[in-house]
Each structure stands twice: as structure tokens, then as C-alpha cells.
Subunit: 245 residues, 2 copies
């Protein structure tokens, strides 16, 4: 039986999603919990994609195969009870035998949280990026409209990427919601390159600070090189919010 | 010169406010930072009162004396920069030479945060208490009205208290605010006994669950013994919100 789960995690204590030789990872915790349930047998977990160290998830999707005779509606609680408090199985259901959490993705939503105030909010320090200088939200919203649509996002992709293929992606929505000192940057798209959201946010923050005009985004796209865009924003403001199939 | 500061702290990583032989405390961090600023000389910090392990503060007030020639408006940043990220100096000002953070207190406000939903919110796990069963908020509000006023709070005081004097206190406000799944219990009063807010919340939660009628609060006060009240609610939902002088 193939299970599909929505997983929430607080990335603060993890060296990212994907298993690696050194450091705790979310995938390692999931596979450790599943191995316990399967009498030590290894169960491979496949996710919609990796997230970096410090990045969080509300809507990470995983799949795995199991021969345990647990009814699908009991899986959520069974697996959740084996996991640490900073990883939570929010939903679990049986999936088609050929469902694939990574290959079947048709779109994703990321949200990036900024705390824009002279004063920090220490209780949000792991979940928002604190920006002390005042931000021009209208200018950033203007720049967001230039991000929407189909573009070659080479300038917004980390040079450490191992992607060989096309860097053309479609962003269906790039917007900013404001509630008090909190700004939420929302990006929905067909797919995202390595560090793309963090580089988009870093560039928008330079627009918000008045270091760039919103119109410059056009030239950044055309440059097709990483150094044309702004700094990579820190990981802890970023949430993988939703994955669509 | 005597300095008065408002201090915010995330109590998650601390064994409470007050210095003790084993374990990190907020007071130890404050005194360590001040000793660094004073060339190793010990500077005693006095707070409005202690908070338990895991309890947070938005409005803890401290005072200390210094002979450094830092102008008062620079103290906030100077001391803040010496502190870890989970302790923040929110305000700093010169106080009268005889100001006393503990003895001059005329009232305090505590807030207790509950996340009332079948599903946890893992990003609030250190700052709210998760209650899965449905709560009758109207019944708890009714009980809150019986808490307001002057009472002998012996039943709501931990038996581990070392207080010899009167346990009569006046609660000016006991109320509950609801926003979605989050409930905020607000208590303003002339003074609070050891564990008093957590025992009040624990008792209110038993009312909310239907295990007690709101009217029973009257009998709990009259019993004047700890076991008449409900369980002590966990520390991590509690915030020292404000101290009045």
C-alpha cells in the first residue's frame, strides 16, 4: 500500500530535509520512525522536494510504501506518535500505487515571513526574518507584478545548483500581505529553482529599502546571471506552504 | 545611577528567572552580561519577581545600579547586544535612586495562551498549551467573573510556597479572549501567589471541559486548601505580561 502524507516541520533544529551523512534531517527522522514501525526494516520516504537547513514546512508532501495492516485512517496518529515534537503528520491517506510525491507535482506555494520593525519579536525569531529598516511595501508590490508570469529565472538560481535543464518557470502569483509589523511574501508557481524564493525575497527587500527601483527587475531577468539579483534572504523566514498535484 | 529595564525573554531554554546553582537562568545571563560591561565586577540585578522554568516574559521589570558613564538612552542597545537572542531589553531608562523593581510593584498582568484544537500547531508548541478536547468558553468566562475581586487565594497557591503572610489578593480582571483556535486568559491583580495563575488556568480548563460547574469556584475559595482547586497548568503557556508601579 502507498501512503501519501502532509508533513509539517519546524526546520530550526535540522540540517535540512534531505538525509545526509552529518547532521539531523527531517527525512532521517521520518525513516527512523517508519523503521521502528516496520520491525527495523528500512522504508524509503520520497518528498516533493528538499528544503534547506532552517527552512520550515506547513505542506511538505511525502509518499512511502508499506505492508503493515494499519487502516489508512489510523496511519496519521500511528506515525505521528513516533516522531519528535517538531515534526507533525497533518494528514495521511492511501494513494494510487503509482502516485509519486516528487514527479507528480504540478505546482508549489512558498511563503516568506518578515518582521519589519526596529524592535525584534524574540518569540518569532526562528520563524520570521527581522528587518529593522523601514520597507516601502508599495514598491515591493510593484516589483512582485514583474515577477509574475513565465520567465527565465537563471538570475534567481543559486550558482550551486546541479540543474542542467531549462530555468524557465511560471510564477502564477507573487504578492505581499501585511499585518502590523509582519509581511508575508507569497509565491505560487509551476516550479522553483535552488534558493529561488530566498533570492527573490532578498532582491525585493533591496527594492523595499530603496536600493533598487521596481523596474530594475526586468534587467535582472535579462542578465541571466546570479550576481544581477540581490542577496539570498536567510532560511528561517521561509515555509514550504503547499504542494499541488 | 539606577537603571530600570523592561525585559522580554523566551523561557524555553531556562531553568526559570532566578539564579540557582544548577541550570541556566535569565538572571544569570543578565548578570553575566553586566559583569562583562563592568570589567568583571559583579552587578546585582533585582526583578519584579521570579518566573518558573519554561515561563516567558513580555514585561519583566528589573533594576540595577551602575557607575558606567553610558547615557541612559544608549543603555538599551549596549546591554541588549551582550545578551543571547532569547533575552531582549525592550526598554531602559534612568530610575529614581530609591526605585525598587520588587517592592514598588502595585500590580501585575499575566497572560496564559491555550491552543484549543485537535491538531497541534508545532510552531506554537513552546508558547501555548495544546488542549485537544473542546472547551466551553462561555462556562470558563462565567467562572472568571467569580475570580475577580478580593479573595483568599490559599486554594490557588502551591503548597511549596514559603509565604507566611496573608494569601488575600485582589484580581481586577480575569477574562478570556478568543481568536480562532487560540484562547488568551488574562489576569490583572494586586499580586499573585506561587503558581497561582497556572492553578487558576488549570481549574478553568476543568470548567471548560465540563468536569466542574463555574459556580463551584465559590466552594474552592472557601475550602482554603490546594487540593480543592484543579491541576497546575503547564508553564510554557504562561507569560508575565506587564508590571505596574
Amino acid at each position: 500500500m502507498r501512503l501519501k502524507c502532509r508533513v509539517e516541520y519546524d526546520g530550526t533544529q535540522y540540517a535540512g530535509y534531505q538525509i545526509q551523512p552529518n547532521g539531523n534531517t527531517v527525512q532521517a527522522e521520518l525513516e527512523k520512525a517508519l523503521a521502528k514501525m516496520h520491525k527495523g526494516e528500512k522504508v524509503k520516504v520520497t518528498a516533493s522536494g528538499r528544503t534547506d537547513s532552517g527552512v520550515h514546512a506547513r505542506g511538505q508532501i511525502i509518499h512511502f510504501d508499506t505492508n503493515l495492516s494499519i487502516p489508512p485512517h489510523n496511519w496519521k496518529r500511528a506515525l505521528d506518535s513516533m516522531l519528535p515534537q517538531d515534526i507533525h503528520i497533518a494528514e495521511a491517506e492511501e494513494a494510487a500505487a503509482d502516485f509519486h510525491a516528487r514527479y507528480d507535482t504540478i505546482g508549489k506555494e512558498y511563503r516568506y515571513f518578515v518582521w519589519n520593525s526596529r524592535e525584534p519579536d524574540i518569540f518569532k525569531r526562528h520563524y520570521t526574518t527581522h528587518i529593522k529598516f523601514p520597507l516601502n511595501v508599495e514598491a515591493m508590490k510593484k516589483a512582485c507584478r514583474l515577477i509574475e508570469g513565465e520567465h527565465d529565472f537563471t538570475s534567481f538560481c543559486s550558482s550551486r545548483t546541479d540543474l542542467k535543464g531549462s530555468k524557465v518557470r511560471t510564477i502564477h502569483r507573487a504578492s505581499i500581505e501585511q499585518e502590523g509589523a509582519e509581511l508575508v511574501f507569497i509565491f505560487k508557481g509551476s516550479g522553483f529553482l535552488y534558493n529561488m524564493v530566498r533570492i527573490l525575497v532578498g532582491t525585493l527587500l533591496e527594492v523595499g529599502r530603496g536600493e533598487r527601483n521596481p523596474e530594475e527587475l526586468q534587467a535582472v531577468f535579462e542578465a541571466r546571471e546570479r550576481k544581477a539579483a540581490g542577496k539570498t534572504a536567510p532560511p528561517h523566514g521561509l515555509f514550504l506552504w503547499q504542494v499541488d498535484y
